[in-house]
């Protein structure tokens, strides 16, 4: 990035400036499935200051969200609705599988639980733990930001 201060112009690539904007306004969706959701709520509290990453605006609608955090056990009965919510989110969108159940089914290796969110929608970051601490969610958001910086408009329209 070059700053031509005497002209008042910044030269940069489109990828860089778009990714900069995207990574600093990751709006998550207000969505919770099980006990992990409570840790996610704590992450949104004042103590953890999730606003540092521009992710403090928990939206009430998938149409306004960039980030789907799947916190908790995904049952087979819930799965069609998660797919629907994911499809309702506008591109670009990212997914965090938050907790053991969302990553792999966790301890529920049973007939009624989806064995990992990645069986039904693409996942960007996996967070281990049962439940993971709120700090782990912040770490996941930092990792997601690092991933977003490497993206190119050519790959994702």
């Amino acid at each position: 990035m070059g700053i031509e201060s005497h002209l008042g112009i910044i030269t940069t690539s489109l990828d860089k400036v778009v990714n900069w904007a995207r990574k600093n306004s990751l709006w998550p969706m207000t969505f919770g499935l099980a006990c992990c959701a409570l840790e996610m709520m704590v992450a949104a509290s004042a103590r953890h200051d999730i606003a540092r990453f521009g992710a403090e605006v928990f939206r009430g609608s998938p149409r306004q969200s960039d980030l789907l955090i799947v916190p908790g056990t995904l049952t087979k009965k819930m799965a069609p609705y998660v797919i629907k919510l994911y499809n309702q989110m506008p591109e670009p969108k990212w997914v965090i599988a938050y907790g053991a159940c969302a990553c792999s089914g966790g301890l529920f290796n049973t007939y009624n639980v989806v064995q990992g969110v990645d069986k039904i929608i693409p996942v960007d970051v996996y967070v281990a733990g049962c439940p993971p601490k709120p700090e782990a969610l912040l770490r996941a958001i930092v990792m997601l930001r690092e991933k977003i910086v490497k993206e190119s408009l050519k790959d994702r329209v």
Partner: protein, 152 residues
């Protein structure tokens, strides 16, 4: 009301039942044929007044015949006493629904139907309650594998 008093009342009723003091409350074994009329008596008898259904569930004993044991837990608010009513049911049998006695039994019976496949006659809305509508199995039966059956 004391447990022994309850047992005495039940032993003098018209039905062929086996009433004894269970580990935590009075337990009664009732044949399937007289189950509904016995439960009706529990609710409507002036001395008993069992007016709250607490739970309906079932147990699967695949090696026994009849296969299922239907279990009702009922509470009498007036007498502050609980009772457990058990009845043996064979696979494919239909049991009279108790929704006409206790409205709260509706979802409990739906759950038993969903998990064990026991049918209830005259139930207002006997559908699966926990599993999806297209699910073909009864998951709490002992012969159902824990990890489910792969749909082909």
């Amino acid at each position: 009301m004391e447990r022994l008093e309850l047992i005495n009342i039940l032993k003098n009723c018209e039905f062929k039942i086996d009433a004894y003091e269970g580990i935590d409350c009075v337990t009664v074994l009732v044949p399937k044929e007289s189950l509904f009329s016995f439960l009706k008596l529990l609710k409507e008898d002036e001395r008993l007044k069992f007016n709250m259904i607490a739970d309906i569930t079932a147990v699967d004993y695949p090696e026994q015949k009849p296969r299922f044991e239907l279990v009702y837990h009922i509470f009498s608010i007036a007498n502050n006493i609980r009772i457990r009513v058990k009845s043996r049911v064979e696979e494919g049998d239909s049991v009279e629904s108790v929704t006409s006695l206790w409205k709260g039994a509706e979802w409990l019976e739906r759950e038993v139907f969903d998990m064990f496949g026991i049918n209830f006659k005259n139930h207002p809305d006997l559908r699966r309650i926990l599993m999806t509508e297209d699910f073909k199995y009864y998951p709490l039966r002992k012969d159902f594998p824990l990890q489910g059956i792969e749909e082909s």
